[in-house]
């Protein structure tokens, strides 16, 4: 018989998910506490730069989660998810730019520095509203969501699938890369948006602010995991898996596959937008390089290495690969791209189901995400 299922029994169904949520909650409390309360010389003290670095990894983890939701469960391989991440980041960046006020190099209270430099006299219409934080927050999800809705509507309705879909997602992010490089787009061109001062009146460089941003990132990943888990555990999630495994069978059962894909694609784009909005205040810059196709491919590699179709595997993959990236770009700057390529090839050959699909420690319970 169908077992009675409530919120907690779904969210905590798997060991991996329980461990992930436990670690995220512990980190959200303990890392800022250690950073702020313990003296700097203490063995357990976490330096501020590490807090920010880990906060960045968590933003990437949320981005990986958004990719796993569509790739692992609906079989939509997006090679352009960096675009949604970057759009969310730009929306947050625009808010942060407006907070600079007259403290810019040119001291112009009305216009950001790069607009003064371009001899603009008026704020473009699409910059209006971004001085209000709630408006910016809405835009963080609305802009990526709207792009995903329009893009997905045409792509899924025309039944573009497989590598063809992957290729047009690449084209999408590349087109945005070129557009955002142009100075007259009004987003700072090549340099993007930077020199942020304050967020909600708090100094963006301050230790306290950094600690709070870290905690928020950890909670966002936890929240994102819970939401994705609820979606994939519902009947809708099973329809998505059905579409992934046999799309035409699903259609002949009477499901409109395109609407199901569209729903999950938009949700995923919004999550990616939130990830971008958490990323920007922590790294202090957003520029068009985030739209580069290679960035989007890297996200897919995180998910593949961590283990597609489990959600927590994506989080693990994003954190591990980015830790390796930080370490290697410091130790051997030229070796990183080779290492990333080798890692991807090795994981495809030796760990086709990723880390969580291969290690017996994660093998408890039934895994829906993967074919046996």
């Amino acid at each position: 018989m169908a077992p009675k299922r409530n919120f907690l029994s779904i969210v905590l169904a798997e060991t991996g998910g329980r461990v992930l949520l436990g670690l995220l909650l512990a980190a959200a409390i303990l890392v800022p506490a250690s950073n702020l309360l313990l003296p700097e010389g203490s063995f357990l003290h976490v330096p501020t730069y590490i807090v920010t670095l880990m906060g960045k990894y968590l933003a990437f983890a949320l981005l990986a989660l958004s990719v796993d939701l569509i790739w692992g469960y609906a079989g939509i391989l997006s090679l352009g998810h960096g675009a949604f991440f970057a759009l969310g980041g730009y929306a947050m960046g625009m808010y942060l730019m407006r907070q600079i006020g007259d403290r810019g190099v040119y001291g112009n209270a009305e216009l950001p520095d790069f607009m003064v430099f371009l001899n603009w006299t008026e704020l473009p219409w699409y910059w209006h509203g971004f001085d209000a934080f709630p408006f910016a927050l809405v835009m963080v999800v609305a802009v990526p969501g709207a792009l995903a809705l329009v893009f997905g509507w045409f792509a899924f309705r025309s039944r573009v699938t497989g590598v063809y879909l992957s290729i047009i997602t690449q084209a999408m992010t590349y087109a945005l890369l070129l557009a955002f490089f142009r100075n007259d787009m009004g987003f700072g061109g090549n340099n993007g948006l930077t020199d942020f001062k304050e967020i909600l009146g708090f100094n963006i460089q301050a230790q306290n602010t950094r600690a709070v941003l870290f905690s928020l990132s950890a909670l966002a990943v936890a929240g994102g995991y819970i939401m994705c888990k609820l979606i994939v555990s519902s009947r809708l999630g099973r329809v998505l898996i059905a579409i992934r495994d046999a799309e035409s069978r699903t259609r002949f059962l009477g499901y409109r596959a395109e609407y199901y894909k569209l729903f999950v694609f938009v949700v995923s784009a919004m999550l990616a937008g939130i990830a971008g909005a958490l990323y920007v205040p922590q790294v202090g810059i957003i520029n068009p390089s985030e739209f580069a196709p290679a960035v989007s491919i890297e996200i897919v590699i995180w998910v593949a290495i961590g283990g597609r179709g489990s959600l927590y595997g994506a989080v693990l993959g994003a954190i591990l690969v980015n830790y390796a990236k930080t370490y290697l770009t410091g130790a051997m700057p030229d070796a990183w791209l080779f290492a990333l390529g080798a890692l991807f090839i090795a994981s495809t050959i030796f760990l086709p189901k990723g880390i969580v699909g291969t290690l017996p420690a994660f093998g408890t319970g039934k895994r829906r995400g993967q074919k046996s």
């Binding site: 519902s234 009947r235 099973r238 259609r251 002949f252 059962l253 499901y255 829906r368 046996s372």
Partner: protein, 254 residues
């Protein structure tokens, strides 16, 4: 419109009139006309390339015909509708190659096929009622998979997958089932069990079976339509068909 067709059309579950489909000049269906009555079990045979699968593609909305009418249940024109719409009208289809959701359990496969609302948000908040669970149990019984309900569909034998797919069709509670080569790859015993299963299903539903296996069709004991080169060559009992000169010439004789 052919006025002479109207009187009988009201009692038909499926009515094809002058349907033609061509692919790059090749006429897959050539002015195909036939009808199936409500509650009827009908077998369709014919040599390779006779248009059997194309006919099913046209009825289920996968292929649009170049000309002709396909009327469902005496009134609905199917030629303008897509797969999902047609499925929701009450037409279920079993593919030639068994197609089930391999990474989900037998029970979950049937649950996905359960008749009901197919909208995205209804799916997000769906919970199974006890009546629906009971319905799944009944179908599990019919397709002889009660003991395998928790098994992954990918782990079933070829014959069991065929049955599961028939079970999924039944869960849809369709008025018309289109079944493409259900006995392919089955043992003799499984083939006979499948024929029994389909005979039991017919009556409550209308069933069209495409098959090559003559002993299977004999076991169905129903009216047979012979297709050749995209149109109907002959129609009648299996014995009459096997005695028909044209049928022997085009198909059985070879």
């Amino acid at each position: 419109m052919n006025l002479h067709a109207s009187p009988s059309r009201r009692d038909t579950i499926l009515y094809l009139d002058g349907v033609s489909v061509s692919f790059d000049g090749f006429k897959a269906l050539n002015n195909l006309s036939f009808y199936v009555e409500v509650g009827e079990l009908r077998a369709i045979i014919g040599p390779n390339g006779a248009g059997k699968t194309t006919m099913m593609d046209v009825v289920t909305g996968k292929t649009r015909p170049d000309s002709g009418d396909v009327i469902f249940n005496g009134g609905t024109d199917l030629t303008k509708l897509d797969e999902a719409h047609i499925a929701n009208l009450g037409i279920g289809r079993k593919f030639q190659k068994p197609t089930v959701f391999e990474s989900q359990s037998v029970f979950e496969n049937l649950e996905l096929a359960l008749a009901g609302n197919r909208r995205v948000f209804q799916s997000l908040f769906f919970t199974l009622t006890s009546v629906q669970a009971q319905r799944i149990d009944e179908v599990l019984e019919t397709i002889r998979l009660t003991g395998d309900r928790a098994k992954q569909a990918g782990d079933l034998s070829h014959g069991q997958k065929q049955w599961l797919e028939i079970g999924m069709l039944l869960m849809q509670e369709p008025d018309l089932l289109l079944v493409d080569e259900p006995a392919a790859g089955m043992t003799d015993a499984e083939t006979m069990q499948t024929a029994e299963m389909l005979k039991r299903i017919a009556g409550d539903h209308s069933v069209i079976v495409v098959e090559h296996d003559m002993s299977f069709i004999r076991a169905l004991g129903c009216r047979v339509t012979v297709l050749n080169e995209g149109s109907v060559l002959a129609e009648g009992s299996l014995d009459a068909m096997q005695a028909d000169e044209r049928v022997i010439e085009s198909y059985l004789g070879r």
